[in-house]
Symmetry: C2
């Protein structure tokens, strides 16, 4: 709880990630990160009656795994943060009612995982909670029919479009002396560069990622080369290219450290996902899958995670509004 520079917060009493888990759908399980997820669900409905219920159940499973791996029970958690892409964040509300954990619903579109994690970290650092939880999800089928077209319509996708990840991730934060520490965070501002194409979200979100990364590096007086990995949430291929360009104009070169969850989760060519993955579940499942596992094994030790969110709705888009975007950052370090 020390402010660094203009926008960055240092967690002086470092909170730790004491448990994490991810659950994904069939397509994600067939991608290059196969083997890193706690569970792959081959049934898109997970035995439920609707995709919305399935998404909710996927969250519950991710929380169950994360709690189990932390050796704790839901009643040991004093506060949960989470949200999702569905109208009124129903995946999360309907999921969390089963756990009896005090809950503060978050909406940051695809930035929700990092937004929830940075708040969960603050709660533990400042003794508002001994243990806290961050959870989010997305589901291709529930998102597609809400944001775009009913799946039955079989609409053609543009090359710039991204594929909403069916997946969920959950993280338990607690006190400790060593492990994966949450060291800093930078809370983003809403940036709107006037992009109106909802089939090109990567481009709408890249400027906000650029702003947040620049703010963090300035505030902490560090260089991209100080980190093992600079991971963006779901810019996909097109948004990632644009981010590198935008940062280059600021004389910041992250090309050697950068990767993007939306590029990692699918084999973009073979799996026909056009510009890559997106959705709250994209950053959540990649972070709670491969990335945190690699930190746990100390194959990664010092990383930045920047999750980006596009904050429009179908209504605002139909009304001709541009797409405002936001990006939040957490710095994770093995201690």
């Amino acid at each position: 709880m020390k402010r660094k520079g203009q926008y960055t917060i240092e967690y002086v009493n470092t909170p730790f990630i004491i448990g994490f888990a991810s659950v994904v759908g069939k397509k994600e399980g067939e991608g290059p990160l196969n083997g890193y997820f706690d569970k792959v669900e081959n049934d898109t409905k997970l035995g439920c009656q609707t995709w919305e219920q399935a998404e909710s159940k996927m969250q519950s499973e991710a929380i169950d795994f994360a709690l189990g791996k932390s050796w704790i029970d839901s009643k040991d958690i004093q506060v949960a943060f989470g949200g999702d892409l569905l109208n009124q964040c129903i995946s999360t509300s309907y999921n969390i009612r089963n756990f009896g954990i005090p809950f503060l619903g978050q909406y940051g579109a695809c930035s929700t995982m990092v937004q929830s994690l940075l708040l969960a970290g603050m709660m533990v650092e400042s003794d508002y909670a001994d243990k806290s939880l961050a959870v989010t999800s997305s589901h291709f089928c529930s998102a597609e029919r809400q944001y775009r077209y009913p799946l039955e319509y079989g609409g053609q996708r543009t090359p710039t479009a991204q594929w909403t990840v069916t997946g969920s991730g959950a993280i338990v934060v607690g006190k400790g002396n060593n492990g994966i520490g949450i060291k800093h965070c930078t809370i983003g501002k809403v940036i709107d560069m006037g992009v109106t194409d909802i089939n090109n979200m990567g481009s709408a979100m890249a400027p906000s990622a650029c702003e947040t990364i620049k703010a963090y590096l300035t505030d902490t007086n560090t260089q991209p080369s100080d980190y093992d990995l600079i991971l963006t949430g779901d810019l996909g291929k097109i948004g990632s290219d644009l981010l590198l360009e935008l940062l280059e104009k600021e004389n910041i070169d992250i090309s050697n450290q950068h990767n993007d969850c939306g590029k990692m989760i699918y084999d973009i060519e073979k799996q026909d996902v056009h510009a890559g993955g997106s959705g709250c579940g994209c950053c959540a499942s990649v972070l709670c899958g491969k990335i945190l596992q690699k930190m746990y094994k100390q194959e990664l030790n010092n990383i930045l995670v920047i999750a980006t969110g596009a904050l429009m709705s179908p209504t605002s888009n139909q009304q001709g509004e541009s797409i405002p975007a936001i990006a939040h950052l957490v710095h994770l370090q093995n201690i």
Copy 2:
């Protein structure tokens, strides 16, 4: 930052409400709280092209008033919390992009004002921010067409239905030595008693208010008579009656201290609003109107505010799901 009992947090380094403001629509301006709002907008569109844009503008106006009354500028605020009822919380995202304040979007349905305020308080108490902001809104026309029917349809309302308030409230939180202090908060759990009637939200939300009030009184070992006012957010007439009944079963009698924003904002009989007001803007405009003004004038000195939210969506309702609800509490005291 001291936990009291199982669910309640005491703000030991008391954060203070240093500015607050409310803006409402014509109908609200004609109600019994006339004279307590910073501005009454007689044009439902506030000169904008759509109701959604109008709602967003109403938030901007409330923030402008609150900043002005705090004698500060938006760049003095390190973090803003806020949200609304619209899909993807667009009123808030589109509003906040104009201010350049780091932003964490909240979704707690009609509990959003208290949810945002309790987090804004934590940020200041624990030095994550010198000053923080909480803001929310609702608009009858944008909510009605999203949740129920297009206004042009002229659907008949049931006697248990509530009327979504057109209004916004904003609160600036900062450090200080005296004034309106944020003393405690209790973060609610999602409670679902199986109510499925979306035209009876008061009844769906009353059990969560009961749980949170009981938890707070137990944790702090205080009595209803210790407070000048116990104010619920938008239970309306039917939900308020049910809350008193539910608390009575727990041997808690708040009947002498209780009032409800949804009952206060309209003349329920004359203004034809059936069970009373509702919406994020209900608690926000009543709290940032009459209530905080009365605290400022020391006519009220020690109050509890419990905002309730119904967390369903039209989709979950159509799928036959019941309505999960949540209630968050803040304890405000003149110091």
